[in-house]
């Protein structure tokens, strides 16, 4: 048969030599290999005690950010929901009332903001779409749970702690991303 390429190689099927037939040298070689593996460094990370750092581009759970004075940045413009390829984000807007200037930065804010973490594909397009730097993906991931409804994260779950009243929690939630 004519070969299609010149790379094909005839398989060698010559009978084994006496040395090979004894098998013992081959077994000894194999044993030395496995013995050598005992002194190799183990790549396993002892997970709960030690955690491997995430890469700088890791995209985890969403966080709704606040500004330096602790006001919510989100204006419920809906660009994130529009950009979302998985249609995981829904929101309802509301108008800021007088006296709420310390809570919301602009005149409009999100009264309801939900992300379905089971739909979310963590692509980060919402983060890119947001004109107010309000939503970004943090360095944590969604924990396992028994109940599907717990994976719909409401605004209270997503909002970052207030930097003025809870600076430590704020710094922790913020991570090294921003």
């Amino acid at each position: 048969m004519q070969s299609l390429t010149n790379r094909s190689k005839q398989v060698e099927r010559k009978p084994m030599t006496l040395w090979e037939k004894m098998y013992v040298p081959a077994i000894a070689k194999g044993m030395s290999i496995t013995f050598g593996h005992m002194f190799k460094k183990k790549p396993t990370v002892n997970y709960p005690e030690k955690q491997r750092p995430f890469s700088p581009v890791f995209r985890g759970l969403h966080v709704l950010n606040r500004d330096e004075e602790g006001r919510e940045r989100c204006t419920a413009c809906g660009l994130c929901a529009l950009a979302c390829p998985a249609e995981a984000i829904t929101m309802e807007a509301a108008e800021r009332l007088p006296g709420e200037e310390n809570l919301y930065r602009e005149e409009k804010y999100a009264a309801k903001y939900e992300i379905n973490m089971l739909r979310c594909i963590f692509c980060g397009l919402c983060e890119e779409a947001c004109p107010k730097d309000a939503v970004y993906l943090s360095e944590t991931f969604a924990p396992a749970n028994y109940n599907r409804t717990t994976f719909i994260y409401r605004k209270e779950d997503l909002l970052i702690p207030d930097p003025k009243t809870q600076p430590a929690e704020y710094a922790k939630a913020k991570g090294n991303k921003l």
Binding site: I27, M31, I33, T34, F35, H37, K41, K42, P43, T44
Partner: protein, 354 residues
């Protein structure tokens, strides 16, 4: 009085039996742990490390799990034989330890307490006899399960054990011609004065080692429980502690065969590079006995590690390869070894010196 019974002797032996059985069980328990640990480090993993320091409590957790499992006896199985199988496997595994000399003897208030359950003059024949009974555990378990795979595994295992027993016996005959005794204690005592037997009988030791692997159903000879060919082999239908007994019997077998190999070929309880008798006169007999026991256990530990090392290196034999190795290679080799040894002994007896 003719029928006067030495009660202290009986109590002493009962205590010794209990201690030896306890030690065998604990060793078998920690062999399961060591097996997983050795497998892990040879595969660059960490192995069990959650239960206690280094996972040292893992065997307890495993045992508890096995006890808690539902005990299922298949409807169409033979109930009596089904229960008898694991019991027999465990019994034969335990019985072998009776003739192994674990150490010389303790000296308790002038009374010589021998650390061997029975110093019978046919010790090694007893071991061969009991070990060949081990095949019934596999065969009965596989038969009583009423399962094609189990039966196939049992038949395979039985024929394997019977085939390798022949080579094992033949390889031992050469050693027997050298030592001239069947008593394990005498064999050890001879090695205390001379070199260890494996120097005189390297080929015999090698064949004995391979056959010991086959007798223990360890990889590369674990054809009777080939997971990926026969689901789980002869203990497929077993659950709970009956399965535990089978698994445990394998590890006890490993322990005992390591002890037998150490006794026959590596000087048993003899402490290497130390003149035991003068050491005993210097430090007292009890210290010596304990150190000798430890020495035996170190040797056994090395053998057990070797068993595991081989298991995680060599893949399983195919059935025809296994039979060819047993009948066409090991038995002729053992026969040649026997003849060569006999020839040399004959020459030496007629005044021929190296």
């Amino acid at each position: 009085m003719l029928l006067s019974i030495d009660w202290i002797f009986i109590i002493e032996k009962c205590i010794l039996i209990a201690v030896i059985i306890g030690i065998s069980l604990v060793v078998a328990m920690y062999e399961t742990w060591a097996e997983r640990k050795v497998a892990a480090i040879m595969q660059d993993r960490r192995g069990p490390n959650r239960a206690g320091v280094f996972g040292i409590l893992q065997p307890m957790a495993d045992g508890l799990k096995l006890f808690m499992k539902e005990e299922i006896i298949p409807n169409l199985s033979n109930r009596f034989l089904f229960v008898l199988g694991p019991g027999l496997a465990m019994l034969t595994a335990m019985m072998t330890s009776a003739v192994v000399p674990w150490s010389s003897h303790l000296d308790i208030k002038g009374r010589m307490v021998s650390l061997q359950v029975a110093d019978i003059n046919i010790g090694i024949l007893y071991i061969f006899g009991v070990v060949s009974m081990g095949v019934y555990g596999i065969m009965i378990g596989g038969w009583a399960s009423n399962n094609k795979f189990s039966l196939l595994a049992a038949v395979r295992g039985a024929s394997q054990i019977i085939s390798y027993e022949l080579a094992m016996g033949l390889s031992f005959i050469a050693l027997l011609m050298l030592t001239g005794t069947l008593s394990l204690r005498t064999i050890v005592e001879q090695q205390q004065d001379h070199l260890y037997n494996f120097i005189y009988q390297p080929l015999g030791f090698f064949i004995f080692l391979i056959c010991a692997f086959a007798e223990c159903n360890r990889t590369p000879f674990d054809l009777s429980e080939a997971e990926n060919e026969l689901n789980f082999g002869y203990h497929q239908e077993y659950s709970s502690m009956k399965l535990g007994f089978y698994l445990f019997a394998e590890y006890v077998n490993m322990f005992i065969s390591s002890a037998v190999m150490a006794t026959l070929f590596f000087g048993g309880y003899d402490i290497p590079f130390v003149n035991d008798i003068s050491f005993g006169q210097q430090h007292g007999q009890n210290v010596l006995a304990i150190l000798q026991g430890l020495s035996l256990f170190v040797k056994v530990g090395v053998f057990i590690f070797f068993f595991m090392w081989v298991r995680w290196t060599i893949p399983r034999f195919r059935y025809d390869q296994l039979m060819r190795l047993g009948w066409k290679i090991l038995i002729p080799l053992a026969l040649i070894n026997m003849l060569a040894t006999g020839f040399i002994i004959l020459l030496r007896n007629n005044g021929w010196h190296l």
